[in-house]
Symmetry: C2
Subunit: 213 residues, 2 copies
């Protein structure tokens, strides 16, 4: 234990959804932010036990080939994730089109959208939230190259361009992979304050947390 | 085929070295840059066949647990990588200390340092290049929090602080995980020019390629 924790906190389960041909950085950027935060909180004595746990979900447990060809290992199938998820992150990438055809995944996302405290899509992961109905009537953004397509395909979503990320209630969406890191840092700020978000981004220097969307 | 290639080019093999408890972003950031470049070059018609291939190496083939707990899958064992590597990247992370004790890995890195066109360490991966002798007499940098320790441990390395990355001959080193992305973009600029490096970074918006170290 590193000093006395100065903050009453709740352990939170983070889950990140990957799928075949997802963008590896959409997964690993936010994941690195949550893992880094947990490390910092312990080192500076803000927590005496892990603040976060995180797991990688996919349509199946085991190796998932990302769009880069490099494989990540999913910890479990999405529908085996249980009910304890606090924040669910959804990657984007080339494989989004195929994932949209997975009706049990779409049903699960729709249910999660009503159940979790926060649901957040990185980059073109927004199309999965759109396809599952989670973005209905919401403000949202996506990868800059795909904003027009999102707006055309889903007229009931108010697509905001040129934003790093957008929060609308419990639903968050971000631009490309790097904006996904900004979004993850913003979630850290919500949970732990700006000083911690800045500390985590500085630890990965020279990334500067911009603290606004 | 997307248009006619306007550039005579050579196919290049990129390899990234991971190990237990390496930093996942040190691996996935640069990997995403090379994969992204390959995609862009094809889409804009600069190439008619892949410009790069890449593989993930580790002390063993198969799943490697990173410091975040999430697993990447190594394509092959480092000493099965063959002689065709053009650019070898080395991740950093908590696991560096243990990797330094792997004498066959150190011998291999030493040999690679004399063999490959470019060898590049991300963040505390610099300690692996130092331990294997590749950085002897070189200018180098590492994660900002570890510059003093690198200089103290290896007096024959000229450690430069407050640089995104350092090139000294064929040996490259970078600051933390995000500086590793800058370094990867600089390697792309060397191979394909600044316009392509900017295009790749813009594609991952809002990351801005700084084009200087």
């Amino acid at each position: 234990m590193n000093g006395n924790p100065t903050h009453i906190y709740k352990h939170r389960q983070i889950a990140i959804l990957a799928f075949e041909d997802c963008e590896i950085l959409d997964v690993c950027g936010p994941l690195d932010v949550f893992a880094g935060t947990d490390g910092w909180l312990g080192r500076i004595g803000r927590t005496s036990a892990p603040a976060y746990s995180w797991s990688l979900l996919a349509p199946w447990a085991g190796p998932v080939v990302t769009a880069s060809g490099t494989r990540l290992v999913a910890d479990r199938r999405f529908d085996e994730a249980g009910d304890g998820i606090d924040t669910l992150l959804i990657a984007g990438g080339e494989g989004v089109e195929r994932a949209l055809g997975n009706t049990s995944l779409m049903d699960w996302l729709n249910r999660m959208g009503r159940q979790v405290r926060r649901i957040a899509a990185i980059s073109t992961g927004a199309f999965l939230l759109a396809g599952s109905g989670v973005l209905d009537g919401h403000r949202a953004t996506t990868h800059w190259a795909c904003c027009a397509r999102l707006a055309d395909s889903y007229p009931n979503i108010r697509v905001e361009t040129d934003r790093l990320w957008v929060r609308d209630g419990s639903v968050y969406t971000s631009g490309g992979a790097f904006a996904g890191i900004d979004l993850a840092l913003a979630l850290i700020e919500e949970d732990w304050g700006k000083d911690i978000a800045v500390l985590v981004s500085h630890g990965r220097r020279p990334y500067e947390y911009r603290a606004t969307a």
